[in-house]
Subunit: 342 residues, 4 copies
């Protein structure tokens, strides 16, 4: 038996999502996001976030992030984010491409989080002098973070307040937003729009969907035109968008998304507990969601590999590894992993 | 009963394709196009086109076209295409976006086709003077054309020869490539790589797939890096690419794609025959594939609308309409349409 | 003796302009357009155009045009211009570069002019359908035109009215604006801001300056930030801008610019008259300013070349040539030319 | 009496340079850098650097830097530079604009210098994983640095060797290159092409010219087309380039450039000595060239201001100021400054 903890990107599509796709597959439907499913999104997400929401469905988190940032940042604007953020290190410059050379400014910070102090220092060091420098324009937070930790509602609010105070807009990269909400136990609006987030990349692909994400714009319907132009112009306006939108609707219906995220988080928590009780291995970060970063010996990790356990050794490190738990991770797989580390 | 002939973009996913998606939905798979399905594409398309093929799977024709053109055209290069081409009028400048301000030069021509003479005149009028002007860099042909006509093998070869003679690369937008091959009855290589086409946007979404297209590069493996960088950088590298690649593999297996295209073409041919025999209505173009452009009276079209027949009145015209037939168009629907025009 | 009528781009700097440069060359001055000369420009041009003017001094007409268009056109916007316009055929895509892939739509028209009818047809043919198409965003007129003709005040007003009526902004490429005003004999405001022009590339380099142009924005001070950001970001904010601004101030002082332009126009008029009276040669366009396009025989042009007369045979034509007269063209040179064509 | 030490950007044009401009101002000359002066540049700089040099004259250092970097860096490539580099903090993203969203990676380092160790760490931290990350593509060094220090020949060679070893190209921003060579006392080739520099932004505007810089490409003539296309496309191909090229030729003739730089450096050295002997004030960096960074009290700086001494308080600091000495700084001015700090 083997088990794969490399990434939730590698999980299959959840059955309930696939059923929604099959149900959408009858007869013809208007193309280019003018179908019955896509036309429900604004309403459905407005309810989910209990505010006016403008929804732009797309296929990947990278494009959702890039459109969001390019919508509120001029080419001579800068976007502040954590140095470990996906937009900074894993998107090959997609935000810079969509934003025609905007600049990302990376901020270091423990537990993969930005703090208000660090943000303020970074802004001060980069705001420069008038026309000669980039203009601070946006803040992007990742929730759950790349370290598997979670910003509290208060942390998000403090950061958004700092950003808004100097005229910046705020974005949340929610590639693992479901895991964050499942962990926080709060209403999804509380840690987003109500805490000051202007735009959310609402991720679904990692948590049971096939290729479905939603850029959700809160209370700024005037941003729709730019966002939709960028979607079209980048080739992301699918002719058969109904299949994406049907996924999104099924995903948020009856809290399916939270149920799947809770499952993943539970598996991670079980493994985290085992690591905490381990003689040699240690947790690198608190385990708030579905990712567990483990510090251990090379021999330890080699042993896991020999047992057909798949995970990611962190680039450039042989004493750190990441284990990700998904909606499809079974109890047996988690137990196998726990058994193997002992 | 109603029937929809607005666009093959509005058709559902074919059963065989959906089955392939379902079959791919087991267990985990490497993300980002490193899965077992994606890894088969180069081989499968090399066989299909009986030459070395580099395949870049994506979700839309717009991105396939844009990556293709941006890969061979510098920002100061121009791309020649028919004035009715999708890349010119229907992609909101996606080629210009991916190509950082490259220029499309539209060429008029009967039957929605470019001729070698017209191409030569357009190049001469636009090649300009050294560094002051755009540099002619690529030719893009649409097959089947936006008028539902088809370039013969000899026509493609003559145009590619003209383009290559002055150092331009050649691209074919094959959004309806299946319909073209089904109509020509030739080997797919004959009207592409063997006639001088360097890159093909191999369309599948209009002909039974969900959101699956392939950029196929012939005999130029060194273009892969740029193409794949552009795909990633634009957010088109799906984490779960297996579902796109599984569609593409099923689509070309056992000539499924040609079977579906033949069906659509047959429906179009039946309707075209009816129009030809009609007292008042006329065909605007020869009907070579699955699109029928009809010149008729406003009253005639109004009658169809009153009968719940859906089709596209051509923008700015009330005497011209387009009827598109797809893999899912039933004999009954076509017969209903024929009945209604009489 | 030889004489050069190839282009007013080849003329030297006028003495009065050089004196202004020398006068500016004392002591230190604030860098980056914050010097005493640059700080006078808004006021000086507001007086010249008897309205509120925002002036952005630069070194070339290409950058003035490009910043102007990029300031009012989104990347998915289109700019309408004559097919012979400098921005379309002679700037290697600078507007597309500054505008991140905006599109220029060329319009044919006699006497190198756009007409309201032709503009309307072009807009209708290109406005397309929503997010799928470029959005008509700006009209750019060249005054004097590339054919050496001039738009009348009424012609400019009619075109600007058409443009504004559909929400487009208007730009005038005034590379030879001095020649146009000298010919029209009107106030410079009458054929620009008062006729509906929103932005003017005020050319000076061709008419006696070294490398000095001004982007003049009328009554839209809120466009300054974008224009100045683009100037900096493209490397056009000279540290020693005082030398450009000193040229501009001297150029418009005491109507020096008009005096120089009148001189050039007079030389052109003399030659035009000689061509009109010529047995074989003919004028291609009315001669309104300082350019004369002559249709003649290859033998005729060859004869001129043998007499050391320099001019430009039109690209791709051996029966058409352009003769340009500048501020420095002497009576002797013009007389030599006239003698040589007989 | 007042004295201005704010920036060498504020100095006037040197007499010898102005004479060269006046000498070039006779008769017509071919436009667009095809004049007799521009045509001498390759030869003149090939001699100056005793190797094959391709010269692209332009008006600003920002455009020279941006074209250089965009010529060797794909949009998905990264450029490594010191965190204090002009390209990073003072060009409003010009490199990102010309390079269509390339990324600058800032490296911290004492004395405003990059070290091979710091470079290696930065590359390792940013090279990432294949298509997901920017590709390390170029190293840019500033000589003299933004801190007024100078890289030794060995330091440049070691950094270039590191860069070349991993396939990166190398660029030197020589905005104050004359000051560096005057200080090093070496042949200009030794610390550039012979130490591994591929491209040099040869600055002249700060050291006596009006608006003249040269992008010098060493032994890579095939880069000319891209560089010249970018120059045209950005509006930097002056029609009357003769005036820029005449400046450049005069600047390097008979070591004028070094003579002017030596003068500036001498003034800086005199002031630096006074600071070293000062009871309270201190030098922030070694003074290798023409810039002196002084740490002192707010009261001290206020006193200077009250004496009409102009200099730059460092942004965000009231205990640090920069004093720059130029070709036109007189002995009297320097002595006044020295007197005032005591």
């Amino acid at each position: 038996m083997s088990a794969n903890f490399r990434s939730d990107n590698e999980t299959p599509v959840a059955d309930a999502i696939m059923e929604a796709i099959l149900e959408a597959n009858h007869g013809t439907a208007w193309a280019y996001a003018d179908d019955d499913w896509s036309n429900q999104l604004d309403q459905a997400f407005s309810e989910l976030f209990r505010t006016q929401a403008t929804v732009v469905p797309v296929s990947t988190g990278t494009v959702a992030n890039s459109i969001a940032l390019a919508t509120v940042t001029p080419p001579w604007g800068s976007v502040f984010c954590h140095s470990g953020a996906h937009i900074y290190g894993d998107e090959c410059g997609a935000p810079e491409f969509y934003g025609n050379g905007l600049r990302l400014v990376p901020i270091n910070g423990g537990h993969a989080k930005v703090t208000p102090d660090a943000l303020e220092r970074a802004v001060r060091a980069n705001e420069g002098h008038g026309v000669h420098s980039y203009k601070p324009s946006a803040l992007s937070l990742t929730q759950a973070t790349e370290g598997g930790t979670i910003y509290s509602i208060d942390e998000v609010r403090a950061l958004c307040d700092s950003a808004h105070a100097i005229g910046m807009n705020t974005h949340m990269d929610g590639a693992r937003f479901g895991n964050a909400i499942a962990s926080l136990g709060c209403h999804p609006a509380e840690v987003t729009v109500e805490a000051g987030i202007d735009m959310l990349s609402f991720g679904a692909s990692k948590n049971g969907c096939m290729a479905a994400e939603a850029l959700v714009i809160f209370n700024q319907p005037q941003w729709r035109e730019t966002a939709e132009r960028l979607r079209k112009r980048s080739g992301h306006l699918l002719s058969k968008m109904r299949y994406v939108s049907a996924q999104l609707l099924a995903y948020i219906e009856n809290d399916l998304w939270l149920e799947m995220a809770r499952h993943a988080n539970r598996q991670a928590a079980k493994f985290a507990e085992a690591v905490e009780n381990h003689a040699e291995a240690n947790l690198e970060y608190p385990v708030d969601a579905n990712e567990v970063f483990v510090k251990w010996t090379k021999e330890g990790f080699d042993h896991l590999i020999s047992q057909d356990i798949q995970f990611q050794l962190w680039p450039g490190r042989d004493d750190l590894a990441r284990f990700v738990f998904g909606h499809s991770t079974s109890d047996e797989e988690t137990e196998l992993l726990i058994k193997c580390i002992h």
